[in-house]
């Protein structure tokens, strides 16, 4: 990957992040100690935003890979591509991150195939190196390089659990939805609504999260609360906004949708 391209991955503005606990200090310490980090927590609770924020703080470029079932080792490491008369090597995101001492963030790492995940193993122990088989070279990671993966322990089936040999290469930082006051602050800030509306939305969110395990796989995320707030800020009636952002997306079950709607009308 050409040198200037990496600059595109550098964050120029501070991404908004409100610390809930010690996660910023922990992350910084892990970076200094060159430890890979696993971020655990439900969908939409701010893991990705946190990584962005930390990349900005540490002044490192951030390369994010959303993992999926068909993500292969080639996709991560790189491949030769035919360009005109010649074959040219293209770094994959992981290689590029290692080369540039960036933070590489593998989002939802369990979604990737197990054979794919294995290639990060040499990077995550004391060796900190990435073998590039196709070119027959080995890339040593610079001090600044950092591997961060995220993982949602809640909803995946057992089949998609992380292997112990993988898990035990990381330090883990737990995430959850922020406490109500902080969440209201986040919703107000990100969604552009007044404090009262934000507090209402957070209250609804809390109540809906109570249904986790009683029919809902996962509660409504902070992200969805922000979406609802954004819609409200644009003049959509709050009840409608709450419905399209907080009820329909999380369940298809009519009864559940109805009960969430009743909660919305109870609060707003």
């Amino acid at each position: 990957m050409p040198e200037q391209a990496i600059e595109e991955f550098r964050l120029t503005e501070e991404p908004y992040y409100l610390a809930v606990g010690q996660e910023i200090d922990l992350f910084q310490a892990a970076h200094t100690a060159r430890l890979p980090v696993i971020l655990k927590g439900p969908t939409g609770c701010g893991k990705t935003r946190f990584v962005e924020h930390m990349a900005w703080r540490l002044e490192r470029p951030l390369i994010t890979v959303a993992c999926h079932e068909d993500l292969s080792a080639t996709d991560l490491v790189g491949r030769f591509l035919l360009e005109g008369e010649e074959t040219i090597w293209h770094d994959g995101p992981l290689t590029s991150a290692v080369r540039n001492g960036a933070i590489c963030y593998l989002d939802e790492v369990v979604e990737a195939r197990k054979d794919t995940v294995v290639i990060i193993h040499p990077l995550t122990d004391h060796r900190r190196r990435l073998p590039i088989e196709k070119r027959g070279t080995i890339l040593d990671a610079p001090t600044d390089f950092m591997l961060v993966v995220s993982y949602n322990p809640g909803y995946q089936s057992i089949l998609k659990d992380l292997k112990q040999s993988t898990r035990q290469r990381f330090v883990a930082i737990d995430f959850d939805y922020p406490p109500p006051e902080l969440e209201a602050e986040i919703v107000a800030r990100e969604g552009g609504v007044d404090e009262g509306t934000a507090r209402d939305l957070v209250l609804i969110g809390q109540k809906v999260r109570n249904l986790r395990g009683h029919g809902l796989e996962e509660g409504v995320s902070t992200r969805l609360l922000i979406y609802a707030a954004q819609l409200i800020a644009l003049g959509i009636p709050p009840v409608t906004a709450a419905e399209v952002a907080m009820s329909s997306p999380i369940t298809d079950d009519r009864e559940l949708q109805r009960s969430i709607r009743e909660i919305v009308t109870t609060v707003i």
């Binding site: 080639t74 996709d75 491949r79 209402d200 109540k207 249904l211 009864e255 109870t266």
Partner: protein, 1054 residues
């Protein structure tokens, strides 16, 4: 009396003589005997002539039976003559003679025992005794002997000559038909006598005896049962009620002894629990009696259970009303159809646990107005067996039924509270253990306040939110500092030392005279009291414990309940802005329906005012006009205590204390309480629930009975004395007296209930079949091994075929725009194309994709005894070609299938079933989806055997339910049967077929593909009737099943 027994006598004589002869030293012994006979006879000569004559005569008779017995008689005769008259002596001797005829030893023992005991027995009873014993004797000599022996003891325990005579008369009467029963009768007498002795009024005993005599005359042995049932029946009854019961039982004797006996026992129970309804019950019995004794007896027998379901100490008056209502409704049905009435009566207790009495009544009326011709349908309706009936009960006519919104409300409440909360109907007979436990919210089973479903739902929502609010805002909290402080403060305020202070606090100095009477206390006593006053709130207590501190706990409870509702209302309004709309809606509704304040009796005015202030957002204009002073006082309390957004239950309690004092000052508390009590049962305890009092209040004040609901709605406080007995009944089944006996579940077994389709009713019968999931007993894995050996060739070819079906874990897809690897051919083409014309395809890559077979299959195997038939036996060579049982062939098919499925890797389960009536459908899990094909499973396959019947529908429903939980795209249910569903209570052949078809259709609706393999050829048309549009195949040559099964499977899944 001797004449008719003479022939026997003679026969016996020979027998006994030979016995005597058989003894050793016969001749010597005889000599000795003769001597003693002479001596003894000489002694007798001293007796009065007639007695001596009688004795000699009898001894001669006895000697004909046994010489030893005769000697024993002569020995005892002297004594006996002093006690017995000559006639009695004869009777005695005759008894002994006949005893000796049966067994010499007992005869000897009989005489040896003498008649000393009879000394205390009045003469007239002795004659009866001899009569009784001789009657018993003809049936059983040993019983007669026992009777004679035990009589003195009996006479002592009865201790009343007249009664003894009556008892013996009855026993003699019974013994005409049954010696055993007469003995039982006498045996239970001491206990009965004790019971009867309890009554001051002798007439109870007289009537009991008369009744038993009537029983004996009419029904013989049943009299003994009736007699021994008396203590239980009359237990805890006063003499008036006992007499009433005895009289009614007597009248019922005309319906036979069995019916009357049941009336006696069940009637006793009613008189103990709910004496008020006894007469109605008797009336109903006569209605039932018109339909024959079977219905009558069944009805009476189900009564105790009915009574137990209804009587609850907390709400007596209500229980009476309810059971009256049920009885009169049952009576209406009984006028038409006895069995339907019985069914209705039995289902009533169950029904009333889920719906209100109004709904129940409507349900009954609906049932009555249905088709009158079809008695079977009507019976099923009232037995609550059909879905239609069930729906009719719960939905009611108009209004919104809780059942339709219950899951929704439960989710709503769970979301609000974040706890596992149940929503249950506030039914006519609440399940007591669940009231006030803080985990169950009780809501009315039907709301028809607004005549509009949306508005009715909003009312439900408000009520649910109130229930949730009680949980969220800590009504049921225990041991909080606030509660402890309230407890201490209130204990101090209401302890006796502080009466004066309290008097000063109250406005017009209401004084409890009891406390005033004690003037001076010893210092010791005073410190003890002071300590008691300062005692702490017991651990693990909630508001209920604190309420007990008030002298008039009931008054305090009512005030507290209203205040607490007000507090919850305020907190809900504060916390949930959106809910205010709904709360206002309900508030407006309630306001519209308030009674005019001047119409209320004075004692109820304060409560009405408090209700208006706390829950209606302020006093109505008319009330303010009349009671401005009190109103402003109450408003101050409400503002001080419960209006803060952080008010807790302790604040409500302290507020209640203020209002309590205030109420005592405006209306003397005694009056208020009295007035309340007057409306209720006088014997009511302080733990009276506020519901009934409020309801009664409403009844007085509003003409329309419907409106009472609106107020009652805010009532989770149904019965504050909640820690009652846990519900002794387990589920609905306990209420349905199943005619089909249910097998006991073995340990670890689980039973499931399934509906069944009734083609006559064109409706489902709810929970009709019980499917028991069982593990197969272990067999031998030899069966599997042999089958594998026998079909070795077939298996290997099947495995091969199935392996071909198995997709590669990863498939390589060529011609992709991007991918992991180059496709070399495509690259070559690319280069060539480029060189040739510059137009080249971009699709150069290969990709590896995951492909999965996503199949779950469940095999359901008919294990009924019809599969024991042997097929393929060669008629001419039965030994060399013996044929095989269908079940064995089915099992072979399963073995081959398992091999095939292991090869392809599909998830599969193997189940078998048989049935013995609808409550005992046995479902054998040979291999569950999650199990591996282990030795264990192989042994189980070997252990499959045939038995009983084929209730196909229930088995299919259970297999479907299990399969539906599997998470596969293709779900296949393969039923292997002989195509003839049958069970002894499975209706006719068409009924069974239609139920099966319905079960298969339901499976299909659930996204399961059923497929039926029929082993035996039935007529094609019937099979089509059985399987409907479901796929099926018939295997003509049964022996080919094992080979064909995998082929069928392959066709179905590819």
């Amino acid at each position: 009396m001797g004449k008719e027994s003479d022939p026997t006598n003679r026969r016996q004589q020979g027998g006994t003589n030979s016995q005597d002869n058989a003894e050793p030293d016969v001749s010597e012994k005889r000599v000795a005997d003769r001597q003693s006979v002479i001596e003894l006879t000489r002694d007798l000569a001293r007796l009065p002539l007639d007695q001596a004559a009688a004795a000699v005569e009898i001894s001669a008779g006895i000697a004909g039976v046994s010489l030893r017995a005769s000697i024993e008689f002569l020995r005892a005769a002297k004594e006996a003559s002093g006690i017995l008259s000559p006639a009695e002596l004869r009777g005695w001797g005759e008894l002994g003679r006949r005893l000796a005829m049966a067994d010499v030893e007992s005869g000897v023992a009989f005489f040896a025992a003498g008649v000393e005991g009879l000394r205390d027995v009045p003469e007239d009873s002795r004659a009866l005794l001899f009569q009784l014993c001789s009657r018993q004797m003809t049936l059983s000599s040993s019983i007669a002997g026992d009777t004679f022996r035990d009589l003195p003891k009996l006479a002592r325990s009865v201790a009343n000559p007249e009664m003894l005579r009556s008892i013996l008369e009855i026993a003699a009467e019974i013994s005409r038909r049954s010696a055993k029963h007469s003995a039982e009768f006498l045996n239970s007498t001491p206990l009965v006598r004790k019971t009867l002795g309890r009554f001051d009024d002798d007439s109870v005993a007289e009537r009991s005896l008369a009744l038993t005599a009537a029983f004996a005359a009419r029904a013989g042995g049943v009299a003994a049962d009736a007699w021994s049932a008396l203590p239980a029946a009359l237990a805890n009854l006063d003499s008036d009620r006992s007499l009433h019961l005895l009289e009614q039982t007597n009248i019922f004797l005309e319906r036979g002894g069995g019916a009357a006996l049941h009336v006696l026992t069940a009637g006793g129970e009613i008189l103990r629990a709910l004496p008020e309804i006894f007469d109605e019950w008797i009336e109903l019995l006569w209605l039932m009696a018109a339909h024959g004794n079977a219905s009558l007896v069944a009805f009476i027998r189900s009564t105790p259970r009915f009574i137990r379901g209804f009587s609850s100490d907390a709400e007596r008056q209500r229980s009476i009303e309810l059971s009256r209502c049920v009885l009169s409704l049952t009576g209406e049905i009984a006028k038409i159809d006895g069995e339907a009435a019985l069914a209705c009566f039995r289902s009533s207790s169950h029904a009333l646990r889920t719906v209100s009495i109004e709904q129940f009544e409507r349900w009954v009326r609906d049932g009555l107005s249905r088709d009158r011709a079809d008695t079977r349908a009507r019976r099923s309706y009232f037995a609550l067996e059909t879905r239609g009936s069930h729906d009719a009960l719960h939905s009611g006519g108009n209004g919104l039924a809780l059942e339709s919104v219950q899951p929704l409300l439960r989710l709503y409440v769970e979301a609000l509270t974040g706890r596992q909360v149940d929503v249950a109907p506030l039914s006519a007979v609440p399940v007591e253990s669940r009231i006030g436990d803080g985990r169950t919210i009780h809501l009315p089973s039907l709301i028809a306040e607004f005549g509009d479903d949306d508005l009715d739902f909003r009312l439900y929502k408000v009520l649910a939110a109130h229930g949730a609010g009680q949980i969220e805002f800590g009504t049921y909290v225990r041991d909080t500092p606030g509660l402890r402080a309230a407890y201490v403060a209130l204990t101090e305020a209401y302890s006796q030392d502080n009466v004066d202070a309290r008097d000063a606090f109250a406005l017009d100095g209401y004084i409890n005279e009891l406390e005033k009477g004690e003037a001076a206390l010893s210092p010791k006593e005073e410190t003890r009291r002071a300590k008691a006053a300062l005692k702490k709130l017991p651990a693990d207590s909630d508001y209920r414990r604190v309420l007990e501190v008030f002298p008039h706990a009931q008054l305090a409870r009512r005030i507290f309940a209203t205040l607490e509702n007000g507090r919850i209302d305020r907190r809900l309004r504060h916390q949930y802005r959106g809910l205010r709309r709904d709360l206002d809606l309900v508030r407006e509704h309630l306001r519209r329906n308030r009674p005019r304040i001047e119409d209320l009796p004075a004692a109820l005015v304060p409560f009405e005012l408090l209700f208006q202030i706390t829950l209606l957002g302020g006093v109505l204009d008319d009330a303010r006009q009349y009671y401005s002073q009190v109103t402003s006082e109450l408003e101050t309390v409400v503002a001080d205590y419960i209006s803060s957004p952080t008010a807790t239950v302790a604040d409500s309690l302290m507020g209640a204390s203020r209002v309590y004092s205030l109420f005592q000052s405006i209306a003397p508390a005694d009056d208020a309480v009295q007035q309340m009590e007057m409306q209720q049962e006088p014997s009511e305890s302080e733990e009276e629930s506020m519901v009934s009092s409020e309801r009664q209040q409403m009844r007085r004040s509003t003409p329309e009975p419907q409106r009472k609901d609106a107020r009652e709605l805010f009532n989770a406080w149904n019965d504050p004395n909640a820690e009652g007995d846990p519900d002794e009944l387990e589920g609905a089944e306990a209420w349905l007296e199943a005619e089909t006996p249910e097998m006991k579940l073995e340990e670890g077994e689980v039973a499931y209930n399934y509906d069944e389709w009734d083609r006559d009713l064109t409706d489902h019968r709810i929970g009709w079949c019980r499917v028991i999931e069982k593990r197969v007993k272990h067999g031998d894995r030899a069966f599997v091994d042999q089958t594998r050996e026998r079909h070795k060739g077939v298996i290997s070819s099947i495995r091969y075929q199935f392996q071909l079906m198995k997709p590669e874990n990863l498939t390589r897809v060529v011609n992709e725009v991007d991918g992991e690897e180059y496709d070399l051919n495509a690259v070559i083409d690319y280069v060539i194309d480029r060189r040739a014309d510059g137009h080249q395809s971009e699709r150069l890559y290969t990709k590896r994709l995951r492909r999965q077979r996503d199949v779950a299959v469940s095999f359901l195997l008919d294990q009924s005894s019809s599969t024991a038939r042997t097929i393929g036996r060669h008629p001419l060579q039965p030994y060399t070609r013996p044929g095989r049982r269908i079940i064995e062939i089915e099992k072979e098919g399963l073995v081959l299938m398992s091999e095939a499925l292991e090869a392809v890797g599909d998830v599969y389960a193997i189940n078998g079933f048989t049935s013995e009536g609808r409550r005992n459908v046995k479902f054998y899990v040979v291999k569950d989806f999650s199990e591996k094909y282990t030795d264990e499973v192989k042994r189980r396959i070997g252990g499959i055997t045939y038995q009983n019947n084929t209730r196909l529908g229930a088995a299919i429903r259970h297999a479907t339910a299990k399969l539906a939980r599997q998470d596969a795209r293709t779900r296949l249910l393969i039923v292997i049967s002989d195509g003839r569903p049958y069970d002894h209570d499975y209706g006719d052949a068409r009924y069974a077929r239609e139920d099966t078809r319905e079960a298969l259709r339901q499976a299909k609706i659930q996204g399961i593909t059923p497929f039926c393999i029929t082993i035996d050829r039935e007529s094609e048309a019937e099979l089509r009737d059985l399987y409907g549009e479901i796929g099926y195949t018939i295997i003509d040559d049964v022996l080919s099943l094992p080979e064909r099964l995998p082929g069928i499977y392959r066709r179905l899944t590819t």
